[in-house]
């Protein structure tokens, strides 16, 4: 075992700030400043409370209506969930899901089991998609200049337009698309192009897929998708490529990374990561190098030189960089055929070319790197957004159709899309919301949500899913294929276009194949592999460091490019590493913060080519010097009631030419903003919260038995337990989002989060070890520990929390009187108190999204993780009806199901053959705050320290 040095959670803690110590000493930060209550007042209040307490029992059970069907469909069974295979989309890529519906209302999405791209796992965007379906701020009917119109009016408009387009072959018609993988949409766009050959199609994507393809063209001479086969790797080197971070590829990469990591008795994959702004990939890397984005071309060329790539020369490097490269080069040489080098978006085309050369040299192609033609292919020649803006400004565009994009918000600030849009005669915005673009356009045509649509899309691996609706639309909306059909001069039913595409593809026995595809959520076959060799020829040397600072742009890990800004679930999700909710920050390096005397929350002004934006600072431990990080996706004006006016809009300073990395200046303003950061809430007092093992000493010391004065609880046949492997955790938050969806967790808003009142039953605690410049990061998901000797149970004055024979600390809401004693007794700080009534929000009817099997908690009630007791009970009922015992895997908690790396395992610890029992026998197994003698049922597996034990080397 390696004894870790001091673990810290924030820079204030590391610095030993006394104000900080005072703040965290309070059980509830907001209660730290209560005025002292006079004894007499206290007695008066208590007397009244006690006198009235009994009255709550006098509630008379009312008679309510019971409403049956008129003619009940045979499959409709009230209260019994039904599951449908379909998909939601992110950046145009399918995220195949299994949708759970109750009485025709979807309540929960999970990754589709059996699909190679999800394997039943999910990410935060997939989990939150179901909330977007019920968003009351969605566009609910077509509008013209803000006035509601009917679809008949829209049809008439399109026939008028078509007459205009036919005059000159659509010369003055432009179609602006976001990225798509839908075969049906591609077919329709092709048809539109053949009807109006002079019309041009432009592609605007916010997630950098266009740059990805451009890099592939630079490196390989043709457009390609690079598929990382991480499961075949034993060494991976990343140059500012956060492939384990959020995005459409996160799920597949994380699944494969975890498979490789668990390949043997010791970690099967080692990550070397050169990183500018700390993110998930760097956090789990064995060797992390702190390097500014503009250093990446130099680093990668030097690495190429060491590996003997022709034409590469050695650049000037710092000692730190040299040490990392020595190790990385040696590791790559030792693992040829099992190694992979990757580069991120902001690192430039030269880096991409060097990386391709290195991958060729180390034998990655075909082994650890699979190349395919792009999965997201619009099927016609497309031009860029820049060209569209030029044409709009020069008056060459009469009609602009914007399909599922919000360029007024997401276009780089240098383009000034809004003023260009005002020069277009007719602009038609087709989208889910009447957003910034919808408000400025002439027409706004509302789209169906993916869960209400007939459509199709391909997952990142190229496998197609036919998207089937799981409910009829709430609002007067149409699918993109119906609207495209209107543009093509037809009025089509929602599923007709999709059926046509697949009738052509399936050929014979269409009906059977169609049914099979709908049932499976998958059309067999994925993108075929392509053999490509890197472009040879001289690679220009990287330019010397420019003046000004590196300003890197990142998509927000929770609201992505801004499209999810109106989803409270995502806004309130603590972002990995910073644990920030409700907003975005400017990430600065600790050295710069010391030099300019900046504290967290001080407002900074970023100046890129004269365009300015200001946002609060966040000192990011481990960030490269001379580098600033901006997050896109916030600062929205027309997102809806939840998402408006949160954070700053980084798109406004984004240069169109280099959208991921810019040079600019940063200065401190004289203001401060409060940040809703959760890491300091629910703090545990103790040490060794996260533990490590190394290859040299792979076993933690056996725990010493803790004596207890309490008699042991008799156990039922099943005894539930959970083991969380912190070595596998990448801090992606999928578990927290899944728990929110499964357990009806309330969203409390920024002000309440600042007071420490967030309601998540599961938190991903983040710890640092080491100095602030080059710390090592640890993620630790902390749900309720379900202690066998639970302090909370001993504390409750009304027995509202009791011990079940299966070992769960049961929280009985209807008994709880809200003393919060249990929470102050809880050493793990996993209990959450309802300070306000979050059950019914009249202006946002979210009831249909609630899981009907879980109580909505009222004000004044404590709540906490229940190990998804509704799933345990459902499994018991199913097994009891068959009169059999529960089998391992019958109960899967929501967090466990979501986790892409299978870091969370739940099961019966009385069964020695269950997966959880096997993990509990591992040498890495330990209990949190074991010395307290609480005997928790939730336990952990220590992180592997597979890097060097030498602190300085591990940077």
């Amino acid at each position: 075992m390696t004894t870790l040095p001091k673990q810290w959670t924030s820079i204030e803690e590391l610095a030993g700030d006394p104000a900080f110590a005072k703040k965290i000493a309070a059980e509830f930060p907001v209660a730290a400043s209560f005025p002292p209550t006079a004894r007499r007042d206290f007695l008066k209040i208590m007397a009244a409370s006690l006198a009235l307490a009994g009255l709550t029992g006098c509630e008379k059970s009312p008679f309510v209506a019971g409403i049956p069907y008129v003619d009940q469909p045979e499959s409709a069974l009230p209260g019994v969930p039904r599951h449908y295979a379909t998909a939601v989309t992110l950046d145009g890529y399918a995220q195949p899901v299994l949708a759970t519906t109750y009485d025709g209302r979807p309540t929960k999405l999970d990754g589709l089991p059996g699909h190679p791209a999800t394997q039943g796992r999910s990410d935060v965007f997939m989990q939150a998609a179901v909330l977007q379906l019920y968003d009351p701020d969605r566009a609910q009917s077509p509008t013209r200049a803000g006035e509601p119109v009917t679809w008949t009016d829209v049809g008439a408009m399109f026939s008028d337009q078509r007459r205009e387009w036919q005059k000159d072959g659509g010369k003055r018609l432009r179609l602006l698309l976001s990225q798509t993988t839908s075969p049906t949409l591609v077919r329709q766009i092709r048809e539109l192009q053949s009807q109006f050959p002079a019309a041009r199609v432009h592609l605007h994507d916010t997630s950098g897929e266009r740059e990805r393809i451009a890099h592939a063209i630079a490196a390989y001479g043709e457009p390609l998708d690079l598929h990382y086969q991480l499961d075949a790797c034993s060494v991976v080197v990343s140059f500012d490529d956060d492939f384990l971070g959020p995005g459409p590829r996160q799920l597949l990469n994380a699944i494969k990374w975890a498979q490789a990591r668990r390949r043997g008795d010791v970690p099967g994959i080692q990550l070397h990561c050169a990183e500018s702004i700390p993110a998930a990939t760097g956090a789990v890397a064995s060797y992390r190098l702190r390097a500014a984005p503009s250093r990446m071309p130099h680093l990668v060329e030097t690495l190429a030189a060491r590996l003997g790539v022709v034409g590469a020369s050695v650049n000037d490097l710092s000692a730190e960089e040299r040490r990392w490269l020595d190790r990385t080069g040696a590791a790559l040489n030792a693992a040829k055929g099992r190694a992979l080098v990757t580069a991120g978006l902001g690192t430039g085309a030269q880096t991409a070319r060097w990386v391709a050369q290195i991958n060729e040299t180390i034998g990655a192609s075909g082994q650890t790197l699979k190349l395919t033609s792009p999965v997201a292919d619009p099927g016609v020649a497309t031009a860029s957004l820049d060209e569209l803006v030029i044409d709009m400004n020069t008056g060459q565009v009469d009609t602009l159709v914007i399909l599922d994009a919000n360029p007024v918000y997401t276009a780089p600030g240098s383009l000034d899309f809004a003023s260009a849009l005002s020069k277009v005669k007719t602009s038609i915005h087709i989208g889910l919301y009447r957003d910034e673009t919808g408000h400025r356009g002439t027409w706004q045509l509302p789209l169906t949500h993916d869960l209400e649509s007939w459509s199709d899309a391909r997952a990142v691996d190229g496998a197609a899913t036919i998207i089937q609706p799981v409910m009829t639309p709430f609002y007067d909306v149409r699918s993109r294929h119906q609207i495209m059909a209107m543009m093509l001069g037809r009025d089509q039913a929602a599923d007709e276009s999709v059926r046509k595409t697949w009738r052509d593809a399936f050929g014979e026995s269409f009906d059977a194949k169609w049914q099979q595809a709908l049932r499976d959520g998958l059309v067999a076959g994925n993108a075929p592999e392509i053999q490509a060799t890197p472009v040879s020829g001289k690679i220009e040397p990287a330019p010397p460091g420019a003046d000004g600072s590196d300003i890197a742009f990142r998509l927000d890990p929770t609201v992505w490019d801004g499209r999810f800004a109106n989803l409270g679930w995502l806004q309130e999700l603590p972002k990995p590493l910073s644990t920030l909710t409700w907003g975005n920050v400017v990430a600065v390096s600790p050295a710069w913060a010391r030099e300019v005397e900046v504290e967290n929350g001080d407002v900074l002004e970023i100046d890129i080519d004269g365009r300015k934006v200001s946002g609060p600072a966040w000192i990011m431990p481990g960030q490269a010097d001379n580098t600033f990080g901006l997050w896109l996706g916030h600062g929205r004006e027309q997102a809806g009631r939840v998402g408006d006016g949160i954070g700053y809009n980084a798109y406004s300073v984004r240069p169109a030419a280099t959208p991921w990395l810019a040079q600019g200046a940063v200065r401190k303003l004289d203001r401060k903003e409060t940040l809703a950061v959760t890491q300091l809430h629910h703090r545990m007092e103790g040490f060794d919260l996260v533990r490590e093992v190394s290859v040299a000493s792979p076993t933690l010391p056996a725990p010493s038995p803790q004596p207890s004065l309490y008699p042991p609880h008799p156990s039922a046949k099943n005894a539930w337990g959970m083991v969380i492997d912190i070595d596998s955790c990448i801090g992606c938050n999928a578990c927290v989002a899944a728990c929110t969806a499964e357990n009806n967790i309330a969203v409390v808003g920024k002000a309440q989060v600042e007071m420490g009142r967030e309601m998540h039953w599961l938190r991903i605690a983040r710890y640092y070890v080491g100095d602030v410049e080059t710390p090592r990061s640890y993620f630790q998901p902390v749900p309720c520990m379900q202690c066998e000797d639970a302090p909370c149970e001993m504390g409750c004055p009304v027995h509202a929390t009791t011990h079940s024979p299966e070992g769960i600390n049961q929280m009985v809401y209807n008994r709880c009187i809200g003393t919060r004693t249990c929470s102050s007794y809880c050493p793990y700080k996993v209990r959450r108190f309802n300070y306000l009534d979050y059950r019914y929000t009249p202006e946002a009817p979210a009831e249909p999204v609630h899981n009907p099997d879980v109580t909505l908690r009222s004000r004044g009630v404590m709540e906490k993780c229940t190990y998804c007791t509704q799933r345990i009970q459902a499994a018991h009922v199913a097994a009891d009806k068959d009169n059999r015992d529960l089998r391992d895997g019958d109960v899967v908690t929501a967090c466990q199901a979501a986790c892409p790396t299978r870091a969370i395992v739940f099961g019966d610890i009385n069964d020695p053959d269950s997966e959880v029992s096997k993990l509990r026998r591992s040498g890495r197994h330990y209990a949190l705050l074991e010395k307290l003698g609480t005997r928790p049922r939730t336990t952990y597996l220590a992180k592997w320290n597979d890097g060097s034990d030498d602190e300085d080397d591990r940077t």
């Binding site: 029992g57 049956p68 008129v70 209260g79 046949k717 009791t802 209807n814 009970q873």
Partner: protein
């Protein structure tokens, strides 16, 4: 020196103490009595229904099985109120013009569901499932009473926590063979506990695990 206390003062004091204690006791008894009264538990009250449906006629006299109308009872948590179409299986043939059935015919023609008043209802924080109770041998009559004798349906039992727990603690006297679940008049031949114990062993009732909170509350 004048006496502060009169000769009767002691008696008054004793009376006051006794009176106070009996008032406390009486209010306790009254409160418990009130909470258990049919006023609070809504037992023995037949609420107004759009159609005066008689279980006595349909079950007791015609002998229609419970599951003919409450068809989901073995498959899901809810027994299910019969859809209008179920009523019309018979009433499209008999009593086709009865005034009493006008709302049913109207529901069918307008495709609008009937709005019944639910008689049996548990609080929202109780998660009850019909299917498992039936699978384990709890008869309809145990909770719903002699529905076959009710001209208008009323709540036969107060669904108090005690009512549920009595059976969850010791289900054996209330179990019956699978083919007698809907039988309103069935009585065990011997002592109910003997048969119940045999059934409990046969269907695998997890005795002792059924009283913890999360079985019903979550």
């Amino acid at each position: 020196m004048t006496q502060i206390f009169s000769p009767t003062a002691d008696t008054w004091l004793r009376l006051a103490v006794v009176g106070f204690l009996s008032a406390c006791g009486a209010s306790l008894v009254a409160a418990i009595g009130f909470a258990r009264s049919s006023y609070v538990t809504s037992t023995d009250i037949a609420p107004h229904q759009p159609v005066p449906f008689s279980h006595r006629h349909h079950v007791g006299e015609l002998g229609i099985d419970c599951r003919y109308c409450h068809a989901d009872v073995e498959r899901g948590p809810k027994a299910g109120l019969p859809p209008t179409a179920t009523c019309m299986t018979c009433h499209s043939q008999i009593w086709t013009h009865a005034a009493m059935l006008a709302p049913v015919r109207q529901s069918l023609t307008e495709n609008k569901p009937l709005r019944w008043t639910r008689v049996a209802k548990l609080p929202d924080y109780v998660f009850f499932r019909h299917d498992i109770h039936i699978a384990k041998g709890v008869g309809c009559v145990t909770c719903h009473g002699r529905v076959d004798t009710m001209p208008l349906t009323y709540r036969a039992r107060a669904f108090t926590m005690q009512f549920c727990l009595d059976c969850h603690r010791d289900p054996t006297p209330n179990l019956r063979p699978a083919d007698k679940i809907t039988d309103m008049t069935w009585k065990p031949a011997g002592p109910p506990r003997d048969l119940g114990a045999r059934i409990a062993a046969h269907v695998g009732i997890r005795s002792g695990e059924l009283t913890h909170c999360y079985v019903c509350h979550r």
